[in-house]
């Protein structure tokens, strides 16, 4: 037999408490006039305890489920980091291609003695190199 409850068992326990609260409320509503003040107080105290316990057990079940999936969650975070690294590498490849293109344009400007084009081309190459 397991030493601790699983998240599913915890949910089942909380659901039982919720159902118990529903039955007790229903009983109180149907027999309100027959109950003494002391009995009503006892029922209300029980309702309060049931409500508080059930609410917290539902919330605790999240912690259990989280713990059970923590390893896989870390794996997904690792995969995301890997994809991010890959994205940066791919962007660097793109920058290299852009530089090749700019150098070709610069060479074109030099051959055609286009002073404005040469200056612009040099600026572009410098800008791209500083971005890599």
């Amino acid at each position: 037999m397991a030493e601790t409850l699983s998240a599913i068992q915890l949910i089942q326990l909380a659901q039982s408490l919720t159902r118990m609260q529903a039955s007790l409320t229903d009983y109180e509503l149907h027999h309100y006039t027959e109950l003494s003040t002391a009995q009503k107080n006892k029922i209300e105290f029980a309702l309060s305890q049931l409500s508080s316990a059930a609410g917290r057990i539902y919330a605790f079940s999240v912690q259990l489920e989280f713990e059970e999936a923590r390893k896989q969650l870390l794996q997904i975070q690792g995969a995301t980091a890997g994809l991010n690294k890959f994205l940066k590498t791919a962007q660097k490849i793109q920058q290299v291609i852009d530089i090749v293109s700019s150098i070709a344009s610069l060479a074109d400007s030099i051959i055609s003695h286009d002073i404005g084009g040469i200056a612009k081309g040099i600026d572009q190459v410098v800008q791209m190199l500083s971005n890599t």
């Binding site: 529903a22 539902y58 794996q75 975070q77 995969a79 991010n84």
Partner: protein, 286 residues
């Protein structure tokens, strides 16, 4: 030999499109973010529907001056921080899948490069200048040579990442579905019971006339309807998570023997469904 290399590059590039992955990842990222926005947090449930908070509905003090702060919300806040971490991890993962599969990335336009090379060549040796026809042919080839190996490299990276992490993702999505479908849904059922026990029951007993009882019943129905709306949001969210799990698996492994064509058809239908669900979720919280 060179022709064979180029032909194989074109073939590999054309049959391994990242388009389906991109469309799926975009919808999944948007859907996961929408789940976080449209479902109630555990903390909010404690703040609004805890017995002490509900006491404000039965407050008979002048100007409702008695305080009704919810107590013992720590467990609920811890649950929220875990849910947020799961949601953020999924959004980040799908967003990165989307970015890496984006066709704008590495889509290189070789036009400038070819034009420059053509001008250089004509400047150096006018007799060898390239005709318009040749220039456009070279453009196409250069685009292929520069882009296709990168596309193939990227496709392989994406698929291997999805294959390696499919079972982990499936576990995380199941945990998220469990939290929404069992724990959060349970809290909403509990909130309904709390209203019945701590608001409806005392008010009904205090009511003296039929008119008062009718009014209390109407308030009860309105309250229940508002929580049923929350339950509908949860139900839609869980359906979306199930779809994401299925589509991620299909994109990672395909479905033998029909293969990738089947997968792409299936994904297209699911993306339409996912986007429709996102819109419905947005409608629910409006």
């Amino acid at each position: 030999m060179k022709k064979a290399v180029i032909a194989s590059l074109i073939f590999l590039g054309s049959c391994k499109s990242t388009e389906s992955i991109n469309r799926f990842a975009k919808s999944a990222a948007a859907g996961t973010a929408e789940i976080s926005r449209s479902t109630l947090s555990f903390g909010a449930i404690c703040r609004l529907y805890d017995q002490s908070a509900l006491a404000s509905y039965t407050d008979t003090s002048l100007y409702a001056k008695s305080g009704h702060k919810a107590k013992h919300c720590e467990a609920y806040r811890s649950a929220d921080s875990m849910v947020n971490l799961i949601n953020l991890t999924l959004v980040n993962y799908f967003t990165l899948l989307q970015e890496v599969s984006d066709k704008k990335l590495l889509a290189y336009d070789a036009r400038d490069l070819v034009n420059s090379l053509a001008s250089i060549q004509s400047g150096l040796n006018p007799d060898l200048s390239l005709s318009e026809e040749k220039v456009s042919a070279v453009k196409g080839l250069l685009n292929t040579i520069l882009n296709e190996p990168l596309k193939w490299y990227r496709y392989k990276k994406l698929v291997s990442t999805m294959q390696q992490n499919d079972s982990a993702l499936s576990r995380v999505l199941r945990a998220y579905s469990f939290i929404l479908d069992s724990a959060l849904n349970g809290e909403i059922n509990q909130a309904k019971e709390n209203y019945t026990s701590f608001v409806y029951a005392p008010l009904y007993e205090w009511a003296r006339t039929p008119v008062e009882k009718v009014w209390i019943n109407q308030q009860y129905l309105l309250f229940m309807q508002s929580l049923d709306k929350e339950k509908a949001s949860i139900h839609k969210s869980v359906l979306m998570l199930i779809l994401m799990q299925k589509d991620h698996y299909l994109l990672a492994f395909g479905k033998p023997p029909v293969g990738f064509a089947y997968t792409e058809g299936e994904i297209s239908q699911d993306i339409v469904l996912l986007n429709k669900m996102i819109l419905e979720l947005i409608q629910l919280i409006k």
